[in-house]
């Protein structure tokens, strides 16, 4: 049986064969390891003489006032992970109703290593999207599971989503409603998979509804989104938000992008940003902007009542072509948190932070490309500094090889001293056929935990990944320009 036939047998139930089909199938496996912490206690009386905050075997310990037991963390065991992910995005159409198609975007994820550490592997079968779509030139309706994307984030929905396009496609009005999935997940909020710590969990799935208006003109494009989530068990809001985005081309080469969200539950502005970008005819681009970040929590957790502090930031970026083969880029951001109203004299914390990243790339002929970049960040609770470099060689029209390496220094978990890490490896990408691509790679990670106690360890491990991607279809899925377009002399 041919691969095409095999996929058909696997994917298309008897009696559901359409006139056309397209399948993007990916199979990938990774191997990784992490080493966390292992909490333990020791009797206060057992602390080493002369060093009252260290255990006899040298671990720094924390002794709450009046407690008989002190807590300390020793390096945890090396935990291996080997996630295996099969991902299929399939479309079927031609069922006798013009414009009707079935779309499935699903995956099967499992961790072959003992312990199953890799996140997101439960449940094993995950339906990202699965719906029937009816699309005509001015109307699209989806029925089933779909994913909504907007400034409000990514939300899964089991229900109906529709869009009407007006004014020759320059305006689109959409609406959706149904039962929501958990935030950024493929399972409902009632699933145990999104409650690993046995927290309070809703009994019923939330109802989600919303709508948006998007418009497009050569100089101004924008979108306004409204969305609400309601707990059907008690008819109370879980979230109600509105967001707006606009992209305005002020003059040729200058554009202004801005957007904001508003939380109707708490009556506060959420995250917002505005950026002015300038594109020079030479290809250089610079941007400056301001933004404000406020974390958002729905009302079925108590976290919103803890008044998370937003921060405000200014940022800028610069991308410069330095000749036909060399380009450089840099971006930086400085941010300040709003007053937290929770300051105590016992602990000092940073109120502001910064981060930057800069790099350059050199296209050395048709075969080699070299890139190097450095990055650093420092702020309340967060710091990192490092660099990485890569050499990519297109050794054959269908074969790419990449060598990469880098170094990173960042605080340890719980921010007790630093961790220094070297990594290096190589990747290969081999296009075996127009529709078949294989990838693979190996990376060595050498990690040193720079602590002043016995938890200072150095360990290395190997990470690997293998993958294959197959694009199959019934004839209309082309990856290259068709002959008629290639015959058009200046149209590309």
């Amino acid at each position: 049986m041919t691969p095409r036939g095999l996929w058909l047998v696997l994917l298309v139930p008897t009696g559901l064969v359409g006139q056309g089909w397209r399948v993007d199938a990916q199979l990938g496996m990774r191997s990784a390891a992490v080493r966390g912490l292992q909490v333990d206690t020791v009797a206060r009386d057992a602390l080493a003489p002369g060093a009252s905050t260290f255990t006899p075997d040298g671990y720094a310990a924390f002794c709450p006032a009046g407690a008989a037991l002190c807590t300390y963390y020793r390096p945890g065991p090396v935990v291996h992970a080997a996630p295996l992910q099969a991902h299929v995005a399939a479309d079927l159409w031609g069922f006798g109703v013009r414009g009707l198609r079935l779309r499935v975007n699903a995956r099967h994820v499992s961790d072959l290593a003992e312990g199953g550490m890799w996140p997101g592997t439960a449940p094993r079968f995950q339906l990202v999207e699965g719906h029937a779509e009816y699309a005509q030139r001015t109307v699209t309706v989806r029925l089933g599971r779909t994913v909504l994307s907007s400034r409000l984030g990514w939300h899964g929905l089991d229900g109906v989503q529709g869009e009407v396009r007006l004014a020759a496609g320059r305006m689109a009005i959409g609406a959706w409603g149904g039962w929501g999935l958990a935030q950024a997940a493929t399972v409902p909020a009632t699933s145990a998979a999104v409650n690993p710590l046995a927290e309070y969990q809703p009994r019923d799935r939330q109802l989600i509804a919303g709508g948006d208006i998007a418009w497009r003109s050569p100089s101004l494009q924008g979108r306004v989104v409204y969305q609400r989530e309601v707990d059907p068990a008690v008819d109370y809001f879980l979230s109600e938000r509105i967001a707006a985005d606009a992209d305005w081309r002020v003059v040729r080469g200058v554009s202004l992008n801005a957007g904001a969200e508003y939380d109707l539950d708490a009556a506060v502005w959420g995250s917002a940003d505005a950026a002015l970008a300038v594109h020079a005819p030479s290809g250089a681009q610079s941007s400056i902007g301001v933004r404000r970040y406020r974390p958002y929590f729905p009302l079925w957790t108590v976290w919103g009542a803890f008044s998370p502090s937003p921060y405000s930031a200014v940022f800028g970026s610069l991308d410069v072509p330095m000749g036909p083969d060399v380009s450089a880029w840099a971006r930086a951001e400085r941010y300040w948190f709003d007053p937290s109203d929770a300051r105590t004299p016992l602990v000092t914390t940073e109120d502001a932070g910064w981060r930057w990243q800069t790099g350059a790339g050199w296209q050395a002929g048709a075969v080699l490309r070299l890139e190097a970049q450095g990055h650093a960040a420092f702020g309340p609770g967060a710091a990192s500094m490092g660099f990485d470099a890569r050499i990519r060689a297109a050794v054959h029209a269908h074969l790419d090889l990449t060598l990469h390496g880098g170094r990173l220094v960042r605080p340890l978990e719980l921010r007790y001293h630093d961790i220094a890490l070297w990594q290096g490896g190589g990747d290969v990408r081999w296009r075996l056929h127009d529709r078949l691509t294989a990838t693979g790679g190996l990376m060595v990670v050498d990690e040193t935990r720079e602590r002043p106690d016995a938890a200072a360890v150095r360990w290395s491990h190997l990470r690997a990944h293998l993958g294959i991607r197959v694009l199959l279809g019934s004839g209309a899925d082309r990856t290259h320009l068709p002959p008629a377009v290639l015959a058009m002399p200046e149209s590309r």
């Binding site: 606009a246 081309r249 594109h279 970040y293 990670v445 149209s491």
Partner: protein
């Protein structure tokens, strides 16, 4: 003499040429007396199981070299390939005796000169005043099946005539509004894909059905006039419309923009800040990108490895704590963050045990954790449960430390969802 010779040569040559180009046809006139009914020889007209043609033995009954000269006749083994819905049986069943063979197979006034039925006759009987190719497209299906369902040969398809509607100079670029089921009479998906790279995403094309031989017809496209504008090269990204994807794929963009990025698709844009633009200009993004392009990187849960750099597992603590981007847009904080932290010993399971440690390297961190908690609450909840915090911050089960900030609107939130208030305050919600 020369003139006479020339005339003779012309006559001979003309006769020879006529004999060569004229197909060998059956002389119905000469046989009219022998076979008074058409079905005597063409039994398949009334019987689906019979041949449409007479057998060689039927001819040989007379053409045996004695009664009449021998003839060579091999009847076709199959009915002629066609894209017509027409069959003699169904036509006969529908029309009954109101229509006779001669109505279609003879010219008016020449009842014995048998010929193939012409489209003109079909059109005339079916009540259309226009010429065959000029009748309304909605009527094609009256007589024709879809090309995808027809067993026409390459040469038959290649000989399709072009209808007058296709002769407009802008038809190649402006036929989108006219696409309907009638197109399927002459075209199939494969023909469309010779121009439309996004054919699979266009429902009207998908509905045409498949016939690889449909590419025997050559598509006649021209460069859109807007492409000749002086500013097109620098401005085409801005003015792009959904129709760009008709002819162009992502590769047709990257072929030109590999080293010289589009005005707004710089390294910083693609790596860092394309989100706001994508939110604002979804219709413009759709010019080149399809839904799965976004889902390749931005699918919730375990990623494809395409979004974060190779060493991100090591880099993510600082990146997450710094909140340069919102992790929870793609990762469920509990199902993704907490589940992994739990396996690596970084979570608290609640129950009032806070597992005190050297947060920030400061032994008094617990006492003064307020500022850090408010600034990085998303990081806190990737390890701690609500129960951890309510150990102190609940007015019912805890020590009553107020966690609310200055801008906390208790009354509004209570109206919105008092269940959140009950978690800490019980049923005695202040102000209720």
């Amino acid at each position: 003499m020369r003139r006479l010779l020339l005339v003779v040569l012309v006559l001979v040559a003309g006769t020879a040429v006529r004999a060569l180009v004229r197909p060998a046809t059956f002389d119905h006139v000469a046989h009219a007396g022998l076979f008074p009914t058409c079905t005597s020889c063409h039994g398949g007209i009334t019987r689906p199981d019979a041949s449409l043609w007479p057998t060689a033995s039927q001819c040989a009954a007379c053409h045996n070299g004695t009664v009449a000269e021998r003839v060579t006749w091999t009847p076709p083994t199959a009915r002629p390939a066609s894209n017509l819905r027409f069959t003699h049986e169904t036509h006969r069943a529908a029309a009954g005796d109101t229509i006779a063979c001669a109505d279609c197979h003879t010219r008016a006034g020449e009842p014995t000169e048998i010929r193939w039925a012409s489209a003109r006759q079909c059109v005339s009987c079916h009540g259309f005043a226009e010429a065959h190719l000029a009748i309304p497209a909605t009527a094609c299906a009256t007589c024709h099946v879809r090309l995808a369902d027809a067993a026409l040969t390459e040469s038959q398809i290649a000989e399709f005539s072009e209808p007058p509607s296709h002769e407009r100079s802008d038809f190649g670029l402006a036929h989108a509004d006219q696409v309907d089921q009638a197109c399927s009479t002459c075209h199939a998906q494969e023909f469309c894909t010779t121009c439309h790279v996004n054919a699979a995403a266009i429902p009207a094309i998908a509905e045409l059905g498949s016939n690889p031989r449909s590419t025997e017809l050559a598509a006649n496209v021209s460069v859109p006039p807007g492409h000749a504008d002086p500013g097109f090269v620098t401005d085409h990204g801005r003015s792009g419309s959904l129709s760009c994807a008709t002819c162009h794929t992502q590769s047709s963009c990257t072929d030109c923009h590999r080293n010289n990025a589009p005005p707004d698709h710089t390294r910083s844009f693609t790596d860092w800040r394309h989100g706001p633009s994508a939110d604002a200009a979804t219709l413009r993004c759709a010019t080149c990108h399809v839904r799965n392009d976004c889902l390749d990187c931005h699918r919730p849960g375990p990623g494809s490895g395409a979004y974060h750099p190779a060493d991100y597992l090591a880099r993510h603590p600082a990146a997450a704590y710094g909140r340069e981007t919102s992790c929870s847009d793609c990762h469920n904080p509990a199902g993704f963050c907490a589940s992994c932290h739990q396996m690596t010993g970084l979570t608290s399971r609640g129950g009032g045990v806070l597992r005190g440690g050297y947060h920030e390297g400061q032994p008094a961190f617990l006492v003064g954790h307020g500022p850090s908690a408010r600034r990085s609450l998303e990081s806190c909840v990737s390890c701690h449960t609500e129960t951890d915090c309510l150990t102190c911050h609940s007015s019912v089960r805890g020590r009553g430390f107020n966690p609310h900030g200055a801008d906390f609107n208790a009354e509004r939130l209570r109206r919105r969802n008092p269940e959140m208030c009950i978690v800490c305050h019980g049923v005695a919600i202040p102000g209720a």
